[in-house]
Amino acid sequence: MEKKIGVYICTGCGIGESLDIDKLSEIATGEYNVPLCKTHPFLCGKEGIQVIKDDIEKEGVNAVVIMGCSPRVNYDVFKFPNVVVERGNIREQVVWSHPANDEDTQMMAEDYTRMTIVKTEKCELPEPHKEDISKDILVIGGGISGITAALEAANAGYKVVLVEKEKELGGFAAKCFKQLPTKDPYQELEEPIIATKINEVKANDNVKIYTGATVEKIEGAPGLFDVTIKSNGSSSTEKIGAIVLATGWKPYDASKLEKLGYGSPNVITNVEMEELAAKGKIVRPSDGKEVKSIAFIQCAGQRDEEHLPYCSGVCCLVSLKQAKYLRAQDPDAKAFIFYKDMRTLGLYENFYKTCQDDEGIFLTKGEVVSVNADEGGATVVVEDTLIGEKIEVNVDLVVLATGMVPSTKDEAILNLEYRQGPGLPELELFYGYADSNFICFPYETRRTGIYAAGAVRQPLNIAACMEDATGAALKAIQCVEMTSRGEAVHPRAGDISFADFFMQRCTQCKRCTEECPFGAINEDEQANPLYNPTRCRRCAVCMGACPERIISFKNYSVDMIGSMIKAIEVPDEYEEKPRILVLACENDAYPAIDMAGINRMEYSAYVRVIPLRCLGSTNIIWIADALSKGIDGILLLGCKYGDDYQCHFIKGSELANYRMEKVQETLDRLVLESERVRLLEIAITDYDKIPGIINEFLEKIEELGPNPYKGF
């Protein structure tokens, strides 16, 4: 498409008073031969917008450069259908953060004008990638979470395939005698809801159920998954759009809890207790005598570095529930509960209160010293941590409140045929749980279109599993709908651009297939990358990784950013005006720089900031381009990485840091000091640190002296 660019310079918000606007216009019409360049005192106002609209309609302008405020504001008014729009930030990042009518401030605005025009020249309107896709949802696991996900998706009109490894649906929820209260006033135990749910799902025409079945393999990508299901010795294949992983939990191996008496007669786990109660009467396993007293030992393995370092979340409530079973069976029976902290959060406190009010339930904060059990019962010795005394109780039965282990702890379950492995990428810090590391985005997943739900994601009770599964079903539905429109899912939700690989120049180095944080790229036998657009999250980490620079997006490419860097005017060394390039993550670092401007914090006008989709999309060539042009220093500002990473593309900033080693090679080749390139982690709220970071870096660069490549 032949571009006709219109440049519109807003002079409002102090811009007109601080800058020589005519000189900016001259750059557009003179240096870049832009056919149309206009200024307006209130460009985002109705009249200003009309000027642009008229030019689009009457003058055939199809690419618009707005020189004014940050792209973070007025996004809605500067939006014109089928027109490329690029924003040059001369408000927050120029006139609000630098002295007015100053030579350096002016040069900054001029460079941003050049950079934005060049960016616009290189930018094309993306068109969505569309394929015929399946919108069917696969749910793996037929417990309460899986059944809920299946039903909720089916009730929204989607076809569901439900795979359960056991012969019957229901999972652990079906083993429960009663369930915890789920509704106001949160005081009474309820009949388990699972039986009703099983019937509902069996009766739902939208749900196809495989029992005694496992997922043998999953090939493809969102909208295009081919799922092979093995059941009763035969295999069948389903076309699937998105997946909910709801394979639940398994009880912690109680045989490791010998210290607490497991293995002795009359010492059982909470799961076994549930089965015992469900049979009708709570009797002593050793002799069938009706149980008159039980000692419940909380945190049997949990909160213990030797067993499960985490808290299982539900065991306090489960023991209280089981104490109620006993009390309901026999009003004279006694339940002793030994705990570290009673964790009955939120409205469950009401239920806890009913147990505290029950004269047959004895609650003691303490550490278990010993459990001695035999055919005739058990003796539990506990040290009361409050009064520092030992208490001894003799009971008929000891119940160990053991914890939950995620089903993904030791097996992949999904069996993905992905270059990067068969399961959801594991994170040490989650103890095998398929959880997200984001507070704000709990369904974030590194395998696009695959969402974990229920106790495989975190230890949860039945009601919480149902809530969680409903959310996961929504995410699966959302994924197929967005995929059908050719849009990316979170966090670049709605982005229709996708990566284009210029395969003729591929050297099969595998960097892209290794580095993609989302496993979007497979490989053929010759190690050629096989890109899956519907798995792609558009972070462009692959673009940053590729040494041959063959990966690009229509509206984001190595050439585009490289050209912006080349558009920066670098004064020669005798002018003593250093130049610092800042490559900033557009999600956090760039808003932080904006915020410094909003607070009118001042920092050096020698910097030129370019926002990036993710710092991980940084291609080393940009560093080389900048340095060979004579730019004195480069600052890369990205999100925190490591265990508590804040990078929205999970590995982006970490990979950018990893590439810094390669940057060293570039610097060595150019015989430049390594201090000229620095990567810093910065959070969106670190705006107060921006002036310090920039000015300190500049001081360092000034100490090193000018880049000797200036003027070449």
């Binding site: 409002g12 102090g14 005192p41 209130f42 985002c44 405020c69 504001v73 996004y75 809605d76 909720e152 009730n155 009109g157 509704k183 006033p185 909160r303 370092p309 985490y310 808290c311 299982s312 902290d341 964790r343 009955t344 959060l345 939120g346 409205l347 009401n350 904060k365 409050l386 009064i387 749980y433 507070i439 704000c440 985005f441 709990p442 975190q458 230890p459 809530e467 969680d468 409903t470 959310g471 929504l474 995410k475 539905i477 709908e481 899912v489 979170h490 966090p491 939700a493 709605g494 982005d495 999600n587 915020m595 909003i598 999100c639 925190k640 508590d644 959070a683 709220t685 670190d686 107060d688």
Partner: protein, 425 residues
């Protein structure tokens, strides 16, 4: 200029009441599936309670990071429209076909506002900054905070001198200020309504024995969040209110109102984790400060346990099991003596500290608004869920006290429940 206010209609849409983390999540999740969504928010900005927080537990990451992404999802999605300074006035109809009256309260600043800030320079009056719980002042015309979305000023008419002053009107080059703006109403047709009205901190001055409002160096946990925030009253420096002095010791009083029949019978879910988190704020600024945490049970469920372990490993953090019975101030030093009674042993434990944070609980905001009859609330004001055949869904802390992660999960699920009301079966 900011959000468009074209008055839409159509029953293929969802209304979300409340633009905090729960409401935003429900709205973007439903809109990204492909449905039209309206958000109604009473504040002049979106983001709700989390916008006032310094960091999230357990990652210690800034809430604005996720808010920025959610705001971008709104910006990029023309299926979402939002109304700030707005409230639901009336709801009629039933599942699949609600008629909702929305009241737009005057902001006194129209869409022309470019947030240039010239108005603030000329405004002659100050007001207590409610965003910082009154710990500092703002002008009568103000930007709620630097990351406000939409990025637009608002006027507090209780403080504003009105037309006779009119200095801001003269200073504004964009005709953005309308001191005569009045409230107006409009109607929306929607298929379902998600109530994400969130929570308010419990009024700590009601807890007689804990001295809030009486002694300046006793504050609430939400105030502590503002105090520790870089855009808070002290630019993030934790200084005690009476004399702006650096601190050597601090006490956190857990269950300040929660788990107490006289105040909030329930557990507010987040306060243990919030205090543990705030202990890390103190530690970051004061490597040697003594930190005392008075608690009944330490509730760090699931993998939050690791966070608790990390704080426990700090040998200058002392955990004391016991309910705080009273606090006293030394009028000369402003120091506070916290006295706890151990319910089991009857022992009394005393600590004198320079500052006290009350881990106050959550009160559902729904308790203070008129809800449609279709919705039922429990005795504490939480909206009771389980309207099988209805088209209204309560989410997050409107329904029960929970943490942010649970709010987002719940809201995502509610988006699906809302969508189901629009699907023909």
């Amino acid at each position: 200029m900011a959000e468009e206010k074209k008055m839409p209609s159509g029953t293929n849409s969802v209304l979300v009441v409340g633009g905090g983390m729960s409401g935003l999540s429900a709205a973007v999740e439903a809109a990204e599936v492909g449905y039209e969504v309206f958000i109604v928010e009473k504040n002049p900005y979106l983001g709700g309670r989390v916008a006032q927080m310094n960091k999230y537990f357990p990652k210690l990451c800034p809430p604005y990071c996720g808010l920025e992404i959610n705001f971008r999802r709104i910006k990029d999605n023309n299926r979402i429209r939002f109304f700030t300074c707005a409230e639901v006035e009336n709801v009629s109809g039933q599942r699949g076909d609600y008629d909702v009256t929305i009241r737009l309260n005057p902001r006194y600043v129209n869409e022309n506002c470019t947030s240039c800030g010239e108005c603030v320079k000329v405004c002659p009056v100050e007001r207590d900054n409610d965003f910082n719980f009154g710990m500092d002042k703002s002008k009568a015309i103000y930007l709620p905070h630097e990351l406000s979305f939409p990025m637009r000023y608002a006027i507090d008419m209780d403080a504003c001198l009105g037309e006779e002053c009119g200095k801001c009107v003269a200073a504004c080059k964009y005709d953005a200020i309308e001191l005569g703006m009045t409230s107006s109403t409009f109607n929306l047709k929607v298929a379902s309504i998600i109530w994400a009205t969130g929570w308010e901190p419990y009024d700590a001055s009601k807890i007689d024995n804990l001295g809030f409002g009486q002694y300046p160096n006793i504050m609430t946990n939400m105030m502590m969040e503002r105090l520790a925030s870089v855009n808070g009253p002290t630019q993030g420096k934790i200084l005690r209110p009476s004399d702006q002095k650096e601190i050597n010791s601090i006490a956190f009083v857990q269950c300040a109102g929660s788990r107490d029949e006289n105040h909030l019978p329930y557990c507010s879910y987040i306060c243990c984790m919030a205090s543990l988190k705030q202990a890390t704020y103190v530690r970051e600024q004061y490597p040697d400060a003594n930190i005392y945490i008075f608690y009944i049970d330490l509730r760090a469920p699931g993998r939050y346990e690791k966070f608790l372990k990390n704080v426990e490993a700090d040998d200058k953090v002392t955990f004391i099991k016991g309910k705080v019975a009273k606090v006293t101030e030394d009028p000369e030093t402003g120091n506070i003596t916290v006295e706890a009674e151990d319910a089991v042993s009857g022992r009394k434990i005393q600590k004198t500290v320079e500052m006290v944070v009350l881990a106050t609980g959550m009160v559902p905001s729904a308790a203070n608004i008129t809800l449609p009859e279709e919705l039922k609330v429990d005795e504490n004001g939480f909206i009771v869920d389980g309207l099988k055949d209805g088209g209204m869904f309560a989410v997050g802390c409107a329904k029960k006290p929970v943490d942010v992660v649970s709010c987002v999960e719940d809201s995502t699920g509610a988006a699906l429940k809302a969508i189901q009301t629009m699907v023909r079966r």
